[in-house]
Symmetry: C2
Subunit: 202 residues, 2 copies
DNA sequence: TTGACATCAGACACCTCTGTCTGCTTTCAT
DNA sequence: ATGAAAGCAGACAGAGGTGTCTGATGTCAA
């Protein structure tokens, strides 16, 4: 319930070595939590080349570290989506443009997606709230003009979108599909999933 | 690696009260793990109205209990899917029929889906192997005849299918969508996601 | 009815993780 | 160059979890 700030930002100007440590810790957390979403602080510290206590200098608790890691990624994706102008052009085209943009940015954060699997659906939605809020008008616009299936709430489409993108990211990590095909595949899969195609109804 | 049997079946004929205990434990595990996938053995025992040690009489380890709970559901869904004849009729129609059948059976196991979120993608695929094996030929058949997008491996489609059904189940549990709409929505969402629609490609 | 099975109640050893604390040393900023 | 900030090393208490065990009590099946 507490309005925890996503990233514990540059409140106080940190010293150069502190800045380096924080970066190393965040990167290590990203990697460590990718292979094991329950990775301990000790494991993260080890990968960061840092002593465990050092983490607690910058992040008061494990939870805070998690928030910082995910917040960084979500914030970046949110920026990219906003830049892709979800409110411009035909809904289907806008959707594909937005998903493509998000996917590319997500490229740097595929490890992070594994963390999502440790969240309850409610918590997952809470963390993705900025992204979902940005997309909600687009979905409704598409439902009004018949681009997207109108007989479900917009939240349904948003959940499916989220699930597909995350699953695609996981698929990429397994190596079952190459990075080259992945972008086109995820864009079209999402577009097809939300689309309102009368032909499919017998 | 060990070929653990999904359900520790009726090796030895258990006594009537033992049978009752096992059932209560499995049901309690289902519920407990739904609200918290990390629920402890103590919590499960409490909900089952049983002492913790009793669980260990029937399930040697926590892992084994988890296997038993998930195995029961997967086995049932597998049976239902097989009964829906995925190899008969046009691929798209077969897919919709199969998804609808699976979804209905899944109805009793929606709590269980939460457990999936604690599994790595690889582990998730392992547990769903019986289901995926059953669907694999259908996907390939649909790719050959142009029903499903052919430019991705069949495994891609299977992953997206799995992700959508699980997400839909989660969506249902949040109450954001009613049970009445859910079946049609999930069926059409899946069908649209896998479909090969040339019109979407600009 | 009787003996084997199952449960209960409670304890135990063991483990892992978190968060804190205490010196001591290194590194940065001024 | 000097003091403050940051890091290291290692320890600590506390919480919570798992799996095992014992002995007493209840329950089923033949």
């Amino acid at each position: 319930m507490a309005p925890t700030p996503a990233t514990p930002p540059q409140d106080k100007p940190r010293r150069a070595d502190a800045e380096r440590s924080v970066a190393a810790i965040l990167d290590a957390a990203l990697e460590a939590l990718a292979s094991d979403p329950d990775a301990s602080m000790a494991e993260i510290a080890r990968q960061a080349g840092v002593v465990r206590a050092t983490i607690y200098v910058h992040f008061p608790t494990r939870e805070a570290l998690l928030e910082a890691v995910t917040g960084r990624a979500i914030a970046e994706v949110t920026r990219v989506i906003a830049a892709a102008a979800p409110d411009k052009g035909k809904p289907t085209e806008a959707l594909m443009r937005v998903v493509a943009a998000a996917w590319q940015t997500l490229g740097r954060y595929h490890p992070l997606v594994a963390i999502n699997t440790r969240l309850s659906p409610a918590e997952l939605h809470r963390r993705h709230a900025p992204v979902l809020a940005l997309l909600h008008p687009l979905i409704e616009r598409g439902q009004r003009d018949g681009s997207f299936r109108p007989d479900v709430p917009a939240e349904w489409h948003l959940s499916m979108l989220l699930a597909l993108v995350h699953a695609a990211s996981a698929e990429l990590r397994t190596g079952r599909v190459g990075a080259t095909n992945a972008e086109a595949a995820v864009v079209e899969t999402v577009a097809g999933a939300l689309a309102h195609h009368a032909t499919l109804k017998p």
